[in-house]
């Protein structure tokens, strides 16, 4: 039996989390290094996954399969396709930087008297981040729907503690008021996602009942169900399929988040620390869009086609609405949150355009958006930690006192608005092209999102970085080496993927073709050639 690489990639951060959590309370620095080491090991393992994965090979590779709860028809089945590989790599790459960026975020304040000798916020913070990483990776590699669901739900708990337990050391509000807002954000996050998850649970039970006529009894194996459907052994009644699709889709649309189920995201991202905000939008939310691609389209092709017009409309609303609200924000973290909602609109649009460019673009978009948002948000976090305020109006002229900070902020911002030469441009372009070939009107509306993106990013930059230096900011230090070490590689990665995206597209492309063939769609013929 070969080495269970995927299991190892999941276990590394999980073990790291436990190891971090048990470090004694006085040895905070040790805990940080343990966490960083665990995340680096995970990144190495993810790199091995990337190397071992053969783009032209089987659909699911590096598979592992063990019985787990046969009584429920559940098995421990892992495997990755190209889309999964890309997202595992994204997660594993981002987390070490997030740990680096949040290095001092969870230290107890000097004036804080230790409430108890067992209260260890720093250890808890990093352990929770690693826990989330393990669960996210698990949900990217699980090919058993039930297994996926378990981690999809379970990751809410550490995430919830991260949002509610740790916030910016800053603010115009008093400590207790902030704590109140934080716990409000955490509860809102949890309840939205839990509600989505429970709807999905009903759908999962429905799926089990619907598959219970199969020779082996009910099953949750993605491959078994896809095969049975392809061979005609398993058919869903039209209404059953649509209801099941809805149960899955609503859960993923909350996670993604899609308008009008998005309202938890600005709260959650606004109140949490910058690394946690990145973790939410760049890593955890990707599970939602990933799952749409893998489960909604893979399991319920007909219902997906049925729902496409509505989903595309929602995606368009997200794109425009998110961008418009981003322009109006006074709080820069909430601004980035609304920008993310707009970007998730693009991703969903690309997925449901049902063309190979659209879906490849959507997958690339997930990766690029993760990196770009991480760069922008982390620099914003560094800025906020210096001034102690999230309000845009409290800044001005930063580029004169902290040019490197301002420069990295600009590049992160430009990547967010999909400037050519940065990764997001390629993906946004592919999504738009993919949409255009099938839904020209939707493509045109989506283009408005690009213009609006330029607006919110540049206004943000202009208001905070340019203009006269505000007196409170005149002594603001520039990026420290640690902070630069976090941001610089991300920017390098953005530019690399913008100039040379081929390695990524090569991996993603074949899997997208598989997904499209599940749905029974093929790219429309280019019309101009057809006319000749």
């Amino acid at each position: 039996m070969s080495f269970p690489l995927l299991t190892a990639t999941v276990l590394a951060p999980a073990i790291g989390a436990v190891a971090t959590a048990v470090v004694p309370s006085a040895r905070r620095t040790l805990a940080k290094w343990v966490a960083l080491a665990a995340s680096v090991v995970t990144a190495v393992l993810a790199a091995l996954v990337l190397i071992r994965f053969e783009p032209g090979g089987d659909r699911y590779q590096l598979t592992e399969s063990h019985a787990w709860i046969p009584d429920f028809g559940v098995s421990y089945e892992l495997g990755v396709d190209g889309i999964g590989v890309a997202l595992v790599a994204l997660t594993a790459v981002l987390v070490p930087f997030l740990i680096g960026a949040g290095w001092n975020d969870a230290d107890p304040k000097e004036d804080e008297t230790p409430a108890g000798r067992r209260w260890r916020p720093t250890q808890g913070f990093f352990a929770l981040i690693l826990m989330v990483e393990a669960m996210v990776v698990m949900s990217f590699v699980a090919t058993d729907i039930f297994l996926f669901y378990i981690f999809f739900e379970a990751m809410l708990i550490p995430m919830y503690f991260l949002i509610g337990g740790f916030g910016d050391r800053a603010g115009e509000n008093s400590e207790s008021q902030q704590a109140k807002q934080r716990s409000y954000a955490a509860v809102k996050f949890l309840l939205y996602n839990l509600a989505g998850g429970l709807i999905m649970l009903a759908a999962i039970i429905g799926l089990y009942v619907a598959t219970s006529d199969l020779p082996g009894g009910g099953t949750f194996s993605l491959q078994a169900i896809t095969e049975a459907r392809a061979s005609g052994e398993l058919t869903f009644a039209q209404n059953t399929e649509r209801l099941l699709f809805l149960g899955f889709f609503i859960a993923f649309a909350i996670k993604a988040p899609l308008w009008p189920l998005h309202t938890w995201l600005p709260n959650a991202m606004g109140e949490s620390t910058a690394p946690v905000a990145v973790l939410i939008t760049a890593v955890v939310d990707k599970v939602g869009t990933f799952a749409m691609l893998r489960f909604c389209l893979g399991l319920f092709p007909e219902a997906s086609a049925w729902a496409t017009p509505v989903v595309i409309a929602l995606a368009l609303v997200s794109i425009v609405y998110g961008a418009l609200l981003a322009i109006g924000q006074r709080d820069m973290k909430r601004l980035i949150a609304y920008a993310s909602i707009s970007h998730f609109g693009f991703i969903v649009l690309g997925i449901f355009a049902m063309t190979s460019q659209g879906q490849s673009g959507a997958t690339l978009y997930m990766v690029n958006h993760g990196i770009a948002t991480a760069a922008l948000m982390l620099v914003a976090g560094f800025l906020i930690s210096r001034r102690g305020s999230r309000l845009i109006a409290d800044y001005g002229g930063v580029q004169k006192t902290a040019p490197i900070l301002a420069g990295t902020f600009l590049i992160g911002g430009l990547a967010t608005l999909s400037l050519p030469g940065t990764g997001p441009f390629i993906s946004e372009f592919l999504v738009l092209v993919g949409t255009f070939t099938r839904y020209p009107v939707a493509g045109i509306i989506a283009c408005a999102g690009i213009v609006l993106a330029a607006l919110y990013v540049l206004i943000l930059y202009q208001r905070t970085m340019t203009g006269p230096v505000r007196p409170e900011l005149s002594r603001m230090p520039d990026l420290r080496p640690r902070e630069l070490a976090v941001v610089a590689p991300l920017i390098a990665l953005l530019i690399f993927l913008g100039v040379f995206p081929k390695p990524l597209t090569d991996i993603v492309e074949p899997s997208v073709q598989h997904t499209l063939s599940d749905v029974g769609e093929s790219d429309p013929e280019p019309e101009l050639e057809a006319r000749r």
């Binding site: 067992r118 708990i157 309840l191 839990l194 709807i199």
Partner: protein
């Protein structure tokens, strides 16, 4: 045939399957011994000998259950014992095993003496010094000063447990009633024994007793009507009459009423009502919050877990063995009860400010979830209910054990506002409680999720998808208040003068450890236990 119902026959020598009935006999025997200890042993030896006796008896009884199951009594060797009065089969043995484990860990909770500050130099437990003394009166002060302790809690608990062991095994309506009384009466007493807040405790006991007496009366009346309908009290006999194949021996005196459907419907409804009362399902749930709150917390934990297990066992057997023929009559009713329980329990719990009342309403919601598995009427339904009961009881016991540890000057600090910031004072205990709450909420990787999934799947399989959807909605509502407690513990600032967490003795610690392990193991690797419950899913007739 049943000798009690046919007095005109020759008096048979009772045949008794001692081995098959040994678990119950051991527990009741130990209870009798316990009473003798109370009567004859010197005061200072009572506590030690009672604890040892209870632990030993429960361990031996559990070994007997395991032995019976290993000898095939859970499957091929399942038998009707005690001259038709008792069934020793898979569900019986599974539930008896669970009940004995619950009893085993509950003894540790009952015996804990590190929590209350020592009075007059003597360590005391959570129970009143002298229950009969007027609260606050001279007699009570005297009793406290002379260091009385109520060691009779152990035999009382064993008697209750003995009744509970009989309850799911009852294969005859009279035994059902007797078991109900044997389990209820000691519980009424135990409820009144709290050391602190005596009046609240006595009020709880009186409420429980009065409402319980009503429920018993309903049950008894229902039994009478069913006898009038079928001319027999044995489950199988009634089932035969319902299916239109009565056995030949029919009492001529009953010819007028025999087979009259009105008797069957009213009688069946009344009997089910009596059982639903014990289960704590809406609309027979009124007693739960008051009793849960007033009773000494160890008793609440024991009662919440064990009564539910025993009563659901009895309900399952009654519905599956006696009344399958009238499934179309009771199924819609139970649908309604399940839906009402899930929704009412979850919604009312939101407004609660006392931890014990909160858990009481949550237990009502859980009764609804379990009923969803009961109405599935399939072997999967039975095994899912068995599994759910096992998973739920350990979470419940654990949660109440945590409550016993959070105390301030007035004893347990059960008001929720006092729990603010507990996560900072003692992260470990708050973490354990959070785990139990998440298990109640049915978050994956906890036993609560596995149980909920099993029950909902069985319900969906039998076409009760609407019930599943209501269940899912109720779960979402319930999640809100479980999470609220977690928020309070971890994200709120500790209040000055808030409660402190008492470091318990090894007994409570190990009991908490067992609950945590059970919660995690049943959540992560439930297969073995699902198998066990699956093999135990067939009732003998």
């Amino acid at each position: 045939m049943n000798s009690w119902t046919h007095a005109q026959g020759v008096l048979e020598t009772p045949q008794f399957e001692w081995v098959a009935l040994s678990p119950t006999l051991i527990v009741v025997g130990a209870a009798v011994l316990g009473v003798l200890i109370e009567a004859f042993a010197p005061r200072r030896y009572r506590y030690g000998s009672q604890v040892v006796l209870a632990v030993l008896a429960l361990a031996v009884a559990f070994a007997a259950v395991v032995g019976l199951a290993a000898n095939g009594h859970a499957g091929a060797e399942a038998q009707i014992a005690g001259m038709g009065a008792l069934a020793v089969d898979g569900p019986t043995l599974f539930l008896q095993g669970v009940l004995l484990l619950i009893g085993f860990v509950s003894v540790f909770l009952f015996a804990e003496r590190r929590l209350e500050p020592a009075e007059h130099g003597r360590a005391v437990d959570s129970f009143a010094a002298q229950a009969a003394a007027t609260p606050g009166g001279t007699a009570e002060k005297l009793a406290v000063r002379s260091g009385y302790t109520t060691t009779e809690i152990f035999p009382l608990m064993l008697f209750a447990l003995g009744g509970m062991l009989l309850f799911p095994a009852a294969n005859d309506l009279l035994i059902l009633f007797i078991a109900l009384e044997v389990l209820s009466l000691p519980l009424y007493l135990l409820c009144a024994l709290a050391r602190r807040r005596r009046l609240l405790s006595q009020e709880a006991a009186v409420k429980y007793f009065l409402l319980g007496a009503f429920a018993s009366a309903f049950l008894l009346f229902g039994i009478a009507l069913l006898y009038g309908y079928a001319g027999t009290l044995s489950y199988a006999g009634i089932a035969d009459v319902i299916s239109g194949a009565p056995s030949s021996q029919v009492d001529p005196g009953l010819a007028a009423t025999m087979g009259n459907d009105a008797y069957l419907l009213i009688g069946g409804a009344l009997v089910i009502m009596g059982l639903l009362f014990k289960v704590g399902a809406v609309p027979f749930h009124m007693w739960t919050p008051d009793v849960y709150q007033g009773a000494p917390t160890p008793v609440t934990g024991f009662m919440a877990a064990a009564t539910k297990v025993a009563a659901f066992g009895a309900l399952l057997r009654l519905l599956y063995v006696t009344l399958p023929g009238m499934r179309w009559d009771w199924e819609p009713v139970l649908w309604g009860v399940a839906i009402a329980s899930m929704l009412a329990g979850a919604v009312i719990a939101i407004t609660q400010t006392d931890v014990k009342r909160l858990l009481a309403y949550s237990s009502i919601a859980h009764a609804g979830f379990i009923l969803a598995g009961v109405v599935a009427v399939s072997p999967e339904g039975v095994s899912s209910v068995l599994f759910y009961l096992a998973a739920y009881s350990f979470v419940t016991l654990g949660a109440f054990a945590v409550i016993t540890l959070v105390r301030d000057g007035d004893g347990e600090a059960t008001h929720l506002s006092k729990w603010a910031g507990l996560g900072r004072r003692s992260p470990l205990l708050a973490g354990v409680f959070a785990l139990f709450l998440l298990a109640f909420a049915g978050i994956p990787l906890t036993s609560g999720f596995a149980g909920k999934f099993a029950v909902f799947r069985a319900a969906a399989d039998s076409g009760a998808m609407p019930l599943v959807i209501v269940g899912v909605i109720a779960s979402a509502i319930a999640a809100f208040f479980y999470v609220r407690v977690i928020v309070l513990m971890f994200f709120s600032e500790p209040q000055p003068g808030g409660p402190s967490v008492v470091v318990p003795s090894l007994m409570t610690t190990s009991m908490l450890g067992v609950s945590v392990v059970a919660t995690v193991v049943l959540g992560v690797a439930p297969q073995y236990f699902l198998d066990l419950a699956g093999q135990a899913g067939v009732f003998v007739r």
